[in-house]
Amino acid sequence: MLWTDFERSGRQVDPWRELERISRSLARAGAPSEREFPAANLWVASEGATATMEIAGMDAKDIDISVAGKSITVQASRRPEETKEDEQFHRRERWYGRFSRSLELPFNVDADKVKARYVNGVLSLDLPRAEAERPRKIEIKSE
């Protein structure tokens, strides 16, 4: 393991972030072949998260998104290209079929405020953190 991140950032090391990074790399090392489909990216901030997936060629209305506590699930399907009798495939590389993909977030999601956009074949979900769990700034009173 190479710890080049330390020097590069030059900042103080956030131990939680490090732990998270290590557990992630371990999880990945354990099951490299069991990649889920579709691939997802997840960004996290204090007030919420953004998840994106590349799922080209769908109708927005055919994508089902459900949120339960900390997990979100995206389900959709894509039909194969249709061919008539005298038509034939020379290449067939594009995926088709049904998928269900779940992502686990580090916090509970405010299900009512989830926003989903589907632009140019990229699904992006805005997942706000449940109000009760948001970090709060505590005022200090001096007496």
């Binding site: 489909f37 996290v44 998260a49 590349e54 080209a56 060629g57 005298d86 038509e87 074949g121 992006s124």
Partner: protein
């Protein structure tokens, strides 16, 4: 659910030797379906993140190149905690035969899917010859 997820991972496009890219992004090979129909060939390519303005289809001699530019959208003040795919441009190059009517090539993009129609030239279309009896 597709069986071979490995096959579905984004593959980086190969670069010809001696050629360098001018954009500092990764370039991926889009998955394609190619279907031959009676009067034309259809090329369908998955290029999520691309719209009609960011895709170039060029034909030079026999070489048909599709190139899609993708601008990565990174949410502000967020940090990436799960990264299963990278964002980059798409490129794929095909050689086409003389049987294609070059003037008639059409392209459209919808929900990140590029669809090219390559009509067959008149000469290669199967034609039914009328048989007439001598008067």
């Amino acid at each position: 659910m597709p069986d071979t997820v490995k096959e579905l991972e984004k593959k980086e496009a190969e670069l010809q030797t001696g050629v360098e890219r001018t954009r500092a992004t990764k370039v991926y090979t889009p998955s394609v379906d190619i279907i031959e129909r009676k009067d034309d060939n259809i090329v369908v390519a998955d290029m999520p993140g691309v719209d009609e303005k960011s895709v170039d289809v060029t034909l030079e001699k026999n070489v048909l190149t599709i190139y899609g530019r993708v601008e990565p959208a990174i949410p502000e003040n967020h940090r990436l905690v799960v990264s299963e795919y990278n964002i980059g441009d798409y490129q794929r190059v095909f050689t086409i035969s003389d049987e294609i009517d070059r003037e008639g090539i059409r392209a459209s993009v919808n929900n990140g899917v590029l669809r090219l129609t390559l009509p067959k030239a008149e000469i290669v279309k199967t034609r039914k010859i009328e048989v007439t009896s001598r008067a």
